[in-house]
């Protein structure tokens, strides 16, 4: 049962112009410490006495039976305190977040190359690694399934296939005036958070364990660690001060390292640190799902879609992990910003003997969007029209043509306005002509231009996860301590939530302190994911602040003989008519009146519901919108390219913090662009990842980012729904602006010939070159 804390009515919701702290570009809460090298990440914390270092021995095979595992030589090595195998786990040997399937240590069977087999704790990491290599580990190799193709052929799935539909796609396709079919392969992506996975476990009294974990989901770490140790949840505390980046890669993935550190700490009675080096991190941890998407579309002479069928095959790797919800989200975003009248989307959750793929900014949504954008481009090339024209022709309507494939009505559609404004400010039409003229006169260097929209659904699609708690104390000097369930990974969540609390009390931001997220203070939290961090935790903090504010107002109202509701909290004061009192003074009075200055706050997102069997309902509270234009230049003799200019217009609603939001948009675009251009994961025929360091896996460096990069928040943005101060979530949506970079490359390739372009992602120079060669018939 959800008990919603009393929240002052809607009329009190202010537009940012009325806001004093929220809505302003306050710097990241830790910025000063970060530039001074004083912000502590887990590896920087003072090391406790007797600290052990843990090393994980990885599997060498993608699919094999372990026929011999003898760790005695490792255990007898210099400086070794403990060696743990599957047999030594007192509780459940599994850290699967939703479904089992992610063993802490392989138990007789390995299902990906790089899987954790056993772990060693020793006085130093070098000694632990040396010892681990001394163990005897023998395998009987089994045939692996390594690709989506093989998995589809064998119907080898981690979860049952799903189908979403509205209308009769087959009939519409049969009756369509024109019809095209196609296929696009979309690669995965390594998170490459700069701070790799890390955990430190410290044993305490009564066999309790405190785990410092670089995780987006402290509650889940607490729960899975307790389960592995076979102790109650209250025996484990998980604390996360900050992460050095996460991007979804520390939503479920952090649990394994926390569990191993905790198991070793419990076994030895000594603190244990487990830090993966970069190569091990890239081999061990899940990535963005690669997809194969097949489409079949019917449309009229204007390019308007009359019926469409998608087959989405996502590579989940060896276990379900979060793949159910991720593949659902790919289905949810196969429409992007377009109305699909008669639509069917079939989704297969393929199993392969590769690392279990996981959450990554966008959570399947980006892959779904890449599919429909490829369709838009194909229709345009086929009809010899500007792709933007075809895109616009298919946008959701406001009053009609506004039902999604999952039967939710789009009530907040602003995509036509955003695209119109961006087309104007980016001079899309003029540049389109200039580029045509340039390409006509340039046989080898070609330019391409593309404008793509983004519409992204906000909420966890698993309804019960859409809740949050906060704990707020006001001290008698008027300073405020705030805790909530959200975690800070660089997105600025702590700053935004502190802005909310300061706003509610009418005090300066520096009067509010937010410290580490810990399961001790706020229990049973959801992960900081699905872009929901400030929506959920901001509202929970607001609820807590309003409870305390009302208590203070009541006490002071009595003294002043006024109505509590007439007291205004502003500029560090309470005011009403001729009366005024410092906030700190009011806090003292409230305490003296024996009224509590501490409260929890709670929030549950309203309106949402979803039937996971029928794939119908309202999974999203609202949508975030935006659009981007990318221009590229391609050397058609080598396939090399560079971005010439990027324009982005993004709707962050009434932004909680414009500077932080712009940062999310810039970083999101670059990460999305990297995913679809240079970031290529490559496995060999034995299923071993060969791109396990930045030497072979290319994330964007500064030189890959266009110098001409024009990013703006949509000024008219305002959330129609009652989200925190009418802002919109901004963590994930901007990543999908990177699709315009990919589509601009498609456009450049298109200029080398006729008809529909076949280009898969990532569009590495090699793939671009091959696409050009295919087009030139060479």
């Amino acid at each position: 049962m959800n008990v919603i804390a009393p929240i002052t009515p809607d009329s009190e919701i202010l537009h940012p112009r009325g806001l004093r702290v929220a809505g302003h570009s306050a710097a990241q809460d830790s910025a000063r410490k970060q530039v001074a090298g004083e912000a502590l990440y887990i590896d920087d914390m003072p090391e406790p006495r007797d600290l052990l270092h843990a090393y994980i021995r990885l599997s060498d095979h993608a699919h094999a039976r372990i026929v011999k595992l003898d760790v005695s030589a490792a255990a007898a090595s210099l400086g070794v305190a403990a060696v743990l195998t599957a047999r030594d786990v007192p509780g459940v040997n599994d850290v699967g977040p939703a479904f089992p399937g992610d063993p802490i240590f392989a138990d007789g069977l390995v299902e990906y190359a790089g899987q954790s087999v056993f772990a060693v704790a020793a006085d130093s990491i070098a000694l632990a690694r040396q010892a681990a290599m001394r163990a005897v580990l023998e395998y009987e190799p089994l045939p692996p399934v390594l690709t989506i193709r093989e998995a589809l052929a064998q119907q080898f799935f981690v979860l049952p296939s799903q189908k979403m539909q509205r209308g009769d796609a087959a009939a519409a396709l049969a009756a369509a005036p024109q019809r095209l079919q196609g296929r696009i392969v979309v690669g995965g992506q390594e998170h490459f958070y700069l701070e790799g996975q890390i955990a430190m476990a410290v044993p305490g009294e009564d066999h309790d364990i405190k785990v410092y974990s670089s995780t987006q989901h402290p509650t889940e770490v607490q729960h899975l660690v307790a389960r592995a140790l076979a102790v109650p949840d209250h025996a484990v505390i998980c604390e996360t001060r900050r992460m050095g980046g996460a991007f979804g890669g520390k939503e479920s993935q952090a649990s394994l390292y926390a569990a191993i550190a905790a198991l070793l700490a419990a076994k030895t009675g000594r603190p244990v640190k487990l830090r993966l080096d970069r190569d091990d991190d890239m081999k061990l941890t899940g990535k963005r799902h690669d997809f194969e998407i097949e489409w079949d579309v019917g449309f009229d002479a204007t390019g308007r879609i009359t019926g469409i069928a998608f087959m989405l095959a996502g590579n989940c790797g060896m276990s379900p992990d979060l793949s159910g919800a991720i593949n659902d989200r790919a289905m949810f975003h196969s429409d992007n910003a377009y109305y699909l009248d008669a639509v069917s989307i079939v989704s297969h959750r393929c199993k392969t003997h590769t690392v279990s793929n996981t959450a990554f900014r966008g959570f399947g949504g980006p892959q779904g969007m890449v599919g429909i954008e490829a369709v838009m481009d194909a229709i345009a090339r086929h009809l010899k029209r500007d792709p933007l024209q075809v895109r616009r022709r298919n946008f959701y309507g406001k009053r009609d043509r506004n039902i999604t494939p999952y039967h939710m009505t789009v009530e907040d559609n602003v995509i036509p306005e955003i695209v119109a404004e961006l087309a104007r400010t980016s001079e899309y039409a003029k540049r389109r002509q200039e580029i045509a003229a340039f390409n006509a006169g340039s046989p080898w260097v070609k330019r391409g231009l593309a404008l793509t929209p983004v519409k992204f659904g906000i909420s966890f699609t698993l309804t019960r996860m859409n809740q949050a708690g906060a704990l707020l104390h006001v001290y008698t000097d008027g300073s405020v301590m705030l805790n909530h369930g959200g975690t800070e990974m660089g997105q600025g969540l702590f700053t935004k939530v502190a802005q909310v609390a300061a706003e509610e009390f009418g005090i300066d931001l520096d009067r509010v302190k937010i410290t580490a997220t810990t399961t001790e203070k706020v229990p049973n939290t959801s992960p900081t994911a699905a872009s929901s961090g400030s929506d959920l935790n901001g509202k929970a903090a607001q609820a807590a602040a309003r409870i305390i504010r009302e208590r203070i107002a009541k006490v002071i109202a009595k003294q002043w003989g006024v109505a509590a509701g007439d007291i205004v909290f502003r500029d560090g004061e309470l005011r009403c008519g001729p009366h005024a009192m410092r906030f700190s003074e009011a806090a003292k009075h409230t305490h003296a009146a024996r009224v509590s200055l501490s409260s929890t706050g709670y929030y549950a997102t309203p309106k949402i519901h979803y039937d996971t069997k029928l794939h119908q309902g309202r999974p999203f509270y609202y949508f975030a919108y935006g659009a981007s234009v990318s221009e590229v230049e391609v050397d058609t003799l080598t396939g090399e390219y560079r971005l010439r200019r990027v324009d982005i217009l993004h709707d962050a609603g009434a932004s909680l913090n414009p500077a932080l939001d712009l940062g999310q948009i810039e970083g999101g675009y670059v990460q999305g662009m990297g995913w679809l251009t240079t970031e290529e994961l490559w496995w060999d025929a034995q299923g071993r990842l060969r791109t396990h360091a930045p030497s072979t896996y290319k994330i964007p460096a500064v030189g890959d980012v266009p110098q001409d990069f024009r990013v703006a928040l949509w000024k008219r943005g305002r959330n129609r729904e009652n989200a925190i101060y009418r802002s919109k979530a901004v963590g994930e949506p901007p990543l999908m602006h990177g699709i315009s970079a990919f589509q601009a490359l498609v456009d450049a390739v298109a200029s080398c010939g006729e008809g529909v372009v076949q280009l898969d992602a990532p569009a590495t120079p090699e793939r671009v070159l091959m696409a050009i060669a295919a087009r030139r018939g060479g």
Binding site: A31, V35, D44, F192, G244, G245, V702
Partner: protein, 162 residues
């Protein structure tokens, strides 16, 4: 074990290290200067950049013994004794040039070297060229480039620092 004597942030330190100890390990593990981060372990991300005798160096690429006799400056050694930030630190903060902050110490150290070695002027294109060795996964680099540009005149005394 070899003995290394060096100056770190103005203070002399004399430490016993193994022959294979990296400079970054000396700084972090022996001297407790954990502001210098390790991002990739393999000389590619730039998170570990420090100054050795005034030059930017990836400290995971240099052995501690190679720094014998050298003057090393780390991110902790930039601010003045009274806590006043170095102009480059200030510029990063002012320009929102960080998100998770993990790349920031190395980025700031590289940026200072770039500005110092370009006394006659520093174009945006040059900044971009010189920062290629520092990876950031969060920001998209836009604000980092802005911060470096903003710090140049301050560091070269072309405008009065606030």
């Amino acid at each position: 074990m070899p003995q290394v004597t060096l100056t770190v942030n103005g203070k002399t330190a004399s430490v016993e290290v193994e022959g294979r100890t990296l400079l970054v390990e000396l700084l972090r593990d022996k001297l407790g200067l954990t502001g210098t981060h390790v991002g990739c372990d393999t000389s590619q991300c730039g998170a570990c950049v420090v100054h050795v005798d005034g030059k930017a160096v990836k400290s995971c690429t240099m052995l501690a013994v190679q720094a014998n006799g050298a003057a090393v400056t780390t991110i902790e050694g930039l601010a003045a004794a009274d806590g006043t930030l170095h102009p480059m630190q200030e510029a990063f903060r002012e320009n929102h040039a960080l998100q998770c902050g993990f790349c920031t110490p190395g980025m700031v150290m590289s940026a200072i070297d770039i500005v110092a070695t370009h006394p006659d002027g520093l174009s945006e294109a040059e900044i971009r060229h010189c920062l290629e060795g520092n990876l950031c996964r969060c920001t998209g680099y836009h604000n980092i480039v802005k911060a470096v540009s903003a710090a140049w005149p301050v560091m070269h005394g072309k405008v009065a620092a606030e």
